[in-house]
């Protein structure tokens, strides 16, 4: 087990608002302030994308309110670029121009919600809460995967061989024959693997390994 784990500093979730209309940006900022949701406002997609690539927003819990119709880089275009950059923050589209094909495209590209202007604040609040919760869960999942992968990386190559064999259901005796080692050696390696992976049973080991493999 590693001692220098990352300390979890609590920072409030951040709502990133991107809209090229001055009045809309200002009013949504004011609304979010009045609700107590910390927010940052960006006057177009370029400014947001630049800021995103410099800081690393997705270490913090957050979500993005994105307009669709913006000059030069549209909302959908921005969504694609964020995906390319590996951004996992949930996107809520908020648009004054909603037609079904645009909404469907936005959702297909992974948006969590698509709200039409003008909207009732409850609709916005609910979507933001849902998005933030989902994001938190997602971040925790990622954290687990990262930790598990780190643990897997700490195994020696022999230990890795044995892990794969164990997880595929082979008995120690069979593994010993396959690898030309004594059963006793296998048992020792197996115990090391269990310890390094931080599990107590075969079932747990299998689960941890499966959870850590990429799903998308």
């Amino acid at each position: 087990m590693q001692n220098n784990q990352t300390k979890h500093v609590y920072s409030p979730p951040m709502v990133h608002v991107v809209d090229d209309d001055e009045a809309v940006l200002d009013s949504v900022g004011m609304l979010l302030d009045s609700i107590g949701l910390t927010n940052t406002c960006y006057k177009d997609a370029k400014v947001f994308l630049d800021a995103y690539s410099e800081a690393e927003f997705d270490k913090q819990n957050g979500c993005i309110l994105l307009d669709i119709r913006m000059p030069f880089i549209s909302g959908i275009e921005c969504q694609h670029r964020l995906e390319e950059m590996g951004c996992r923050m949930p996107i809520i589209f908020v648009t004054g121009h909603g037609d079904v094909p645009t909404a469907v495209e936005a959702m297909k590209s992974g948006a969590v919600e698509f709200i039409q202007k003008p909207f009732r604040e409850q609709v916005l609040i609910d979507s933001i809460q849902k998005a933030l919760q989902a994001n938190l869960k997602d971040q925790k999942q990622l954290e687990i995967i990262k930790t598990t992968q780190a643990k897997l990386a700490s195994l020696t190559s022999r230990e890795t061989q044995i892990l794969e064999a164990v997880v595929s259901g082979k008995a120690n005796k069979v593994i010993a024959i396959d690898l030309h080692l004594s059963q006793r050696t296998i048992e020792i390696h197996r115990a090391h693997v269990m310890e390094k992976m931080g599990v107590k049973s075969l079932a747990e080991l299998v689960k941890v390994v499966i959870d850590a493999s990429p799903t998308d």
Partner: protein, 135 residues
């Protein structure tokens, strides 16, 4: 698990795929059926969500096409219901009322696509064939 059995074995791949259509519009049901049959697809038609749910669903069904506006339970509720049963059935939602919030709901319920009526029938057929191929 249902999904498990959908991972077809080679033998099953030789059988014709099944597409379910749930829509009250007879003419549409008719024309879609005929066109899909030409592509060697078996089509089963239903006029309501209830009719559909009361039927035993076949494991090798490849696709579901459902209209939002149905007599009782609407198309999206049906899709949500199917999801809650743990079934994964690729679904294309059709709608005679073009409503953005409806489209969003359908996509949030994991629909593959949402198409407003009237639409070009060929486009829909292409999409269905694409879905079948992917299975």
């Amino acid at each position: 698990m249902f999904t498990g059995s959908l991972m077809v074995s080679n033998i099953k791949a030789l059988e014709k795929p099944i597409v379910y259509i749930v829509d009250g519009d007879h003419k549409l049901l008719d024309s879609l059926s005929k066109l899909l049959c030409l592509h060697d697809v078996i089509v089963e038609e239903f006029e309501s969500a209830e009719d559909f749910l009361n039927t035993k669903l076949r494991t090798r069904a490849a696709c579901l096409i459902v209209e939002v506006n149905l007599p009782n339970m609407d198309g999206i509720e049906l899709l949500e219901h199917i999801n809650s049963l743990g079934l994964r059935l690729p679904t294309i939602v059709l709608s005679s009322s073009s409503d953005v919030s409806e489209a969003v709901r359908a996509m949030q319920a994991d629909a593959i696509d949402f198409i407003e009526k009237p639409f070009l029938v060929n486009t829909l057929i292409e999409k269905v064939l694409h879905v079948i191929e992917q299975a």
